[in-house]
Amino acid sequence: MTPQPSAALSATAPPDLLYSEAEEDLRTAVRSLLTHRGAPTTVLAGAESGRPYDAELWRSLAAGIGTAGLLVPDKLGGQGATARETAVVLEELGRAVAPVPQLTSAVLAVTALLGCDTGDAEVAAPLAALAEGRRVGALAVPLTTPPGGRPAATVRAAAGRRPLLSGEITAVAGAAGADLLLVPADTGLYAVDTGAEGVRITPVTSLDLTRPLARVTLAEAPGSLLAGPGRARDAVDAALLTGAGLLASEQLGVAEWCLEETVRYTGERRQFGRPVGSFQALKHRLAALWLEVASARAVARNAADALATGSPDTAVAVAVAQSYCGEVAVRAAQECVQLHGGIGMTWEHPAHLYLKRAKSAELALGTPGRHRAALARLVDLPGPPD
């Protein structure tokens, strides 16, 4: 009776929504590092110091545990793992609002490079450097760009022996502190050294203190061509899709911390002679939030598994994960602030770091509304004829 829409219903093997033992081991390693080195007070102090990210923590993660190269095959200098493992790392980083470039360098920049010809030394060399954590990269697109979205081609490349790039890109996450920019321009994707002449990176005072944005200005900056226009578009699309799908796991981690911390606090804080968490008005809100977080986990795992296995349902899984997890993380952070009362409103308490991350991440790589619009096309639920 119901017409079968394309991707969502294809009868492939059901996704593995659990965590493998190896994935749990990776989680344990990352969590223990973060509890030792990434306490919220450290995170806040780092953010206030104006450092774009915590370089020392990133070294331990990237090179020590190997999180920078998870998505990169062994023979290209990486760990040969998949989006599933990366998702677990991002969950933990979300739980700690850790200021490290996992998403911007190890997911967005790395996936964009993997979409280019990795047999070419111009591609393989920077890829290995990012995978080994020797350098940090950033994909130079506004963080709000959704998968499939065409960032206005603001950068032009003047042909020559060495192409020279000119233009400006706003709201780039991870640009400050990066060594290498991957710049989509009119004639392809280019690698640009941030130390080169003609490159200016201006930090923007950002809503999210733990993932600051910057404006990238290029004035005849030397670049090297990574891929021509067609392939570049596919590479950037793949990066945005992977980034959006894995961001859901980071959002899950943010939501999880907010829920746990709020349950802990309301169970201890006493008013009217009893813990405030014994009042049903709060219990029901937290139980409802728990259900959303449990569902966010299933949805985020589904997206990570689809990306890892190259499932034909990947686009649907990512659109679902982004429309769902972005809102859950924001709700969790908002409840966290509200149910902490006055202390939740302070600079001192870490709740605001999570709220700022959650709200910014909701806009990142496509808002939930944009992802629902994408879904309308993907599962054949068109809007009213105009």
């Binding site: 659990l18 009042f279 139980a287 728990w290 449990a294 795992r301 769902y324 009213p384 004829p385």
Partner: protein, 411 residues
């Protein structure tokens, strides 16, 4: 293991209940009892005796002690051969609630007597739990069971009893000791619905029909052999029933089952088939619900995977909450989408339905019937309490009713 894989020699026994073994047993059943010529009850009994009714049940009780997930192998083989089924919509309470409770707490004799006709549908079951004075606070119930020779005599009133008019047997919770706190004084019985002391009266519902009833119990005789679990342990036994009830309701075709099954499939079908009905507002809401239904489907799938690994997660208590909310919102959206057609209602005639089908009949019926999804089997408010206290470990509300003898509770 693939069917051609010889496997280790030592596992010959276990192989009998893997997928290949089940396929062979299914084929043997079909060969011995041609579904085209075998009467339905005979076929179902033979299927039960072959251990293919519910493969995860023990041998001799309709199963083979096989992993639950392998039921799908049997079902697919039987469906392909056009074999008759036991119509779970008719016997949902027996299958979903009575059976798991009998399996866990029944004596050998009780299991042998009750499970076979329960599964084949020859004997329908109902649930005599709720009372006018005891709904969410089920443990406060007042129906009394007193010793009477070698059995019990039961007096009281039950209410909202689905399918009591069709039932041969009931699972019954009654008070055997009013002098102890309410949870401690309960005992669980199997009640014969044909006893002359049982009177069933229809209760008409908001849908127009009467799916549930009030049941008056006057001097009903129950032999002690029909007691399930120890005297005074009724609450413990009932919790098994209630947990299974939530899983049965929450899992009964989650709104997004198999992509777009259930309520979601009905709405998307209309959406695609009748473009003239679409509006921007409905579009936004539909997409939101599509995502939420998909999230609920994946949450259920994740729970099943955890169960298969033997690590049940607490998500189960949440599934019924999502199921109820989504069914209500989707069916409400469907009425709006249908515009003029949404204003019509199929039939208000007072009938006595034989089956319960949340996704059956017309949109108006579905909208109204879905209202029960957040009440039956534990209200959504009560389920949120359970999640908050048992899953999140939040402190309980101060209570005055737990330690007093039941007879001294304010009423």
């Amino acid at each position: 293991m693939s069917p051609t894989d010889p496997g280790p020699a030592a596992s010959a026994d276990r192989e009998a209940v893997d997928a290949a073994g089940l396929r062979a047993r299914t084929a043997a059943l079909l060969a011995a009892h041609d579904p085209a010529t075998t009467p339905r009850p005979d076929f179902l009994r033979a299927r039960f005796d072959a251990g293919l009714a519910w493969v995860h049940f023990p041998e001799g009780l309709g199963g083979l002690g096989a992993p639950r997930a392998l039921q799908a192998v049997v079902d697919a083989g039987l469906a392909a051969a056009g074999a008759p089924g036991n119509d779970p919509r008719r016997i949902g309470i027996g299958l979903g609630m009575a059976a798991p409770t009998l399996l866990q707490y029944g004596t050998e004799e009780q299991k042998r007597r009750f499970l076979r006709p329960l599964w084949t549908g020859e004997e329908v079951w109902c649930q005599l739990f709720s009372e006018p004075g005891a709904g969410s606070d089920l443990a406060a119930l007042a129906t009394r069971a007193v010793r009477d020779g070698d059995g019990w005599r039961v007096d009281g009133q039950k209410v909202w009893t689905s399918g009591a008019h069709l039932a041969r047997w009931a699972i019954l919770l009654a008070r055997t000791d009013p002098t102890v706190p309410k949870h401690a004084g309960l005992t669980y019985f199997v009640c014969d619905m044909t006893d002359p002391g049982v009177e069933v009266r229809p209760l008409r519902q908001i849908t127009g029909e009467a799916e549930f009833n009030e049941v008056f119990l006057t001097g009903v005789r129950i032999p002690d052999a029909h007691r399930l679990g120890a005297v005074g342990e009724g609450w413990k036994v009932a919790r098994t029933t209630l947990m299974n009830e939530r899983v049965a309701i929450g899992g009964s075709g989650a709104p997004g089952e198999a992509g777009e099954g259930g309520m979601l499939g009905l709405v998307t079908g209309t959406w695609r088939g009748r473009p003239e009905l679409r509006t921007h507002d409905l579009h936004q809401r539909l997409l939101r619900l599509w995502v939420e239904a998909e999230a609920a489907r994946l949450t259920g799938e994740r729970l099943r995977q955890q169960l298969r690994r033997g690590r049940p997660g607490p998500e189960g208590s949440g599934l019924k909450l999502s199921f109820a909310r989504l069914n209500q919102e989707l069916s409400g959206l469907e009425v709006e989408l249908l515009a003029e057609d949404g204003l019509a209602y199929g039939d208000w005639t007072m009938t006595r339905p034989e089956v319960v089908d949340f996704t059956g009949r017309d949109a108006g019926y579905r909208y109204l019937r879905a209202k029960g999804n957040s009440i039956e089997g534990g209200t959504s408010e009560v389920l949120l309490n359970i999640v908050a206290e048992r899953v999140l470990g939040l402190p309980p509300e101060p209570r005055t009713d737990k330690d007093l003898p039941w007879k001294d509770l304010p009423r």
